[in-house]
Symmetry: C2
Subunit: 348 residues, 2 copies
């Protein structure tokens, strides 16, 4: 194994010079730098991660915790993870993947051992088990999602309440008066993950303001479940013409079922989905949708956590980064699944 000392000898300089060439923390004359860089290349030197972490007490590793409880939509998680890893590399950091089996202890272990110098937490619950640790640790941490009490926490998420309102606005403008929300599986609500509730709250809020009626039905992704949910909706409110769907798995079954029932989309029923762009664009009827900006969330989380790390590294010099909740504004893209409400309708 090639060490820094060997590089130094080969280049005819001291160890610290090599170190400083690597870190750029002090000015090195061009000839020396070039000599060192050449030696590094020729010897195939790679700084030892452990030694570096020990000496500098910075591991250059960000821990990404995804508990992966039931019913989460894997592709979105994955997209976030990818964005996190990519962005981390842009900041010369690597990502350690922590899944849920270990429980909140994992975070404690990883932070306590200095394995990671920062943390990004996904799949945040309203009363998340990991919050005490996050609050007490000095390590920069960012949550992707919102707990019920965000005091002192830095969070990133889509503004789901605004998302709900936006969906209603769109449907209301098209003349729809009776709406229904096909939501996530009941387990998601029970787990109190927050985002599902926030959407529904946004929907209700704006619907009330505009005098629309709303039915909300949780629904797991299976074909039968979607069928049942739809049946109950149209049974209870035959005049329903606007559907807001927040459940990726339910989308295709839903479209398929509507078709079978002779309800044309968007002539008879308009559908707005809350889902990744990719999903919305690839369905049998291209969906009007509010995108879940997975990439953006991952990127922003890393960017925040790095800003915090920088600030705490600078000590009192830099202004400390205030904890803050960053809610991404939703954007609705109109596609083929929404249109004017049918003119003739029963009273519902």
């Amino acid at each position: 194994m090639v060490t820094l000392a060997e590089v130094a000898r080969h280049a005819g300089v001291s160890a610290s010079t090599v170190s400083y060439v690597l870190s750029g923390k002090r000015t090195i004359s061009t000839p020396t730098r070039e000599r060192v860089e050449r030696s590094i290349r020729e010897l195939g030197y790679h700084p030892n991660a452990g030694a570096r972490a020990l000496a500098s007490s910075r591991s250059h590793i960000i821990a990404l915790m995804m508990p992966l409880r039931t019913e989460m939509y894997l592709p979105v998680m994955m997209e976030i993870a990818i964005a996190v890893a990519t962005t981390a590399r842009e900041h010369a950091h690597d990502v350690l993947l922590l899944t849920g089996q270990e429980g909140p202890e994992a975070a404690r272990r990883v932070v306590g051992s200095g394995l990671a110098d920062a943390m990004i937490l996904m799949d945040v619950e309203l009363e998340d088990q990991r919050l005490p640790l996050v609050r007490e640790t000095s390590r920069p941490s960012v949550l992707i999602g919102l707990p019920s009490d965000t005091t002192g926490l830095t969070c990133v998420d889509l503004d789901f309440a605004a998302t709900g309102r936006l969906c209603v606005d769109h449907l209301a403008r098209l003349g729809h008066r009776d709406l229904a929300v096909v939501g996530e599986a009941a387990a998601v609500y029970e787990r109190r993950t927050g985002f599902a509730e926030r959407t529904v709250r946004g929907v209700r809020e704006r619907a009330d303001e505009l005098g629309l009626r709303v039915l909300h039905r949780p629904c797991d992704g299976s074909y039968e479940s979607v069928a049942g949910t739809l049946a109950r909706i149209f049974d209870e409110r035959p005049g329903t013409t606007g559907l807001v769907v927040q459940n990726e798995a339910a989308i295709e079954p839903l479209l398929s079922l509507l078709r079978q029932q002779g309800r044309a989309v968007p002539e008879d029923v308009s559908v707005v989905a809350v889902c990744p762009e990719q999903v919305a664009a690839g369905t049998s009827v291209a969906l009007t949708s509010v995108a879940i900006p997975a990439q953006q969330m991952g990127r922003l989380a890393v960017e925040s956590v790095m800003a915090m790390a920088r600030a705490s590294a600078a000590g009192g010099d830099a202004e400390p980064v205030e904890p803050r909740v960053e809610l991404l504004p939703p954007a609705l893209t109109v596609r083929a699944s929404t249109g004017p409400a049918p003119a003739a309708r029963r009273a519902g």
Copy 2:
């Protein structure tokens, strides 16, 4: 930060004793062990990862490389990643997530720096860029997938050739004579990832043996693409009654389109899918399928890599683990999407 030395002082023993209590590498009297363990608990001690890695030259980290090129089915990747992380923890290891942007250099960096002491590579191509490194490094590495030359490599994958044969066997037994494979996107074949080809080869092989006819059409997951693919298949071979689908995204569109065209599944057309169990069970028609054992693959990969690590740690003592290709046998589950071939058929 609590150090091992502080624990030692607190327990009234030497540093090495604490170290040995932690590692179990030498016998400690019960009273001392208990005293040390108590001190550890009381002080909230966590061994420093960097120091440990430096002293022992083992980081207890496995790098998981997933290049994530176009058109890969994210949920399967994710499932593998989760299984890898879970299994790694059972072996007291953590997982470092490497994505593709950095290219093969990432592997070199991570291994060269001692950041990871083992590697698991996903999304392996036939002539994978990372193979030279894998072959030259002494670090235990396992590929999930098969390159064209597996000499000296340890690989884990589903036996896709056997999968193809199994699908044909099933359809043949039901009396189908004209089959079609709805494959992955053309990009997947061009990228020479191997698995898609292997399935088709298996299908062709067995079909030839049994005197069946096979059409193979790549297909991306979009609704239009599936529509086009189906049209071409039934145009060219109107007598086609058996479909093998290896493309998760294409499944729902396909079922939906068949329904629209008045082709009943399985009365008119039988469909066998190669996809995760979860997908097969959740579709509008429950699919007869060969499962992609993502969890098993992830677990097996970690288990192999750990076995190799153990062997090389033991030096000459243990018998070295021979590199080997482990192909998981496919299992076909019969569900609702396959049935006897319709009796009356045109010659095609």
